[in-house]
Amino acid sequence: QKEVEQDPGPLSVPEGAIVSLNCTYSNSAFQYFMWYRQYSRKGPELLMYTYSSGNKEDGRFTAQVDKSSKYISLFIRDSQPSDSATYLCAMNPITGNQFYFGTGTSLTVIP
């Protein structure tokens, strides 16, 4: 059973669109949820993290966690060509140091 599932895309949107990226997970012990952005051949860059359920907003980015559905989302408003990258969700339980990653969703924002 896969721990974290993420649609790999690719996803292509016009500049200015709202982008919705999603992950589902199976392990109810996961408590911390992260979104990373990864440019080609670079390391993942932390965008946002949230603890347990709820929403968190940072500029054009909003992260949502629905633990009852085991579903997390990242919304990007007013998407820009510079947002073109692979977006990885990651999560871990309250104990242990192992982060579990999704496969990543490739996003292209077309000018």
């Binding site: 911390y32 949820f33 992260m34 990373y36 051949r41 670079k42 390391g43 993942p44 860059e45 932390l46 993290y49 949230t50 603890y51 990885l88 990651a90 871990n92 309250i94 242990g96 140091n97 192992q98 982060f99 579990y100 990653f101 999704g102 496969t103 990543g104």
Partner: protein, 115 residues
Amino acid sequence: EPEVTQTPSHQVTQMGQEVILRCVPISNHLYFYWYRQILGQKVEFLVSFYNNEISEKSEIFDDQFSVERPDGSNFTLKIRSTKLEDSAMYFCASSEGTSNTGELFFGEGSRLTVL
């Protein structure tokens, strides 16, 4: 802005050779990690390290792998006898506290190619 740095950026080696990948974590961070990403696949956890010892490791981290913090600043991953399937991007990461803080900072990676 503080960052995790890794060397080399790319290493090509022959199967069976030993490889050492080096990392300098963010200076006030206490937890250190190695992850790897085989081309086109997920980022996978290898090992976490705290207080000069391994705190957690995955099934991937077998006897061919070892980690060390030799001098208080560098954090190294050694692969004793490389196999073709070890070809991947290896990412070092560090965090200020335990994974409970939720913030894990990655380096840019070391690409290992085993021929």
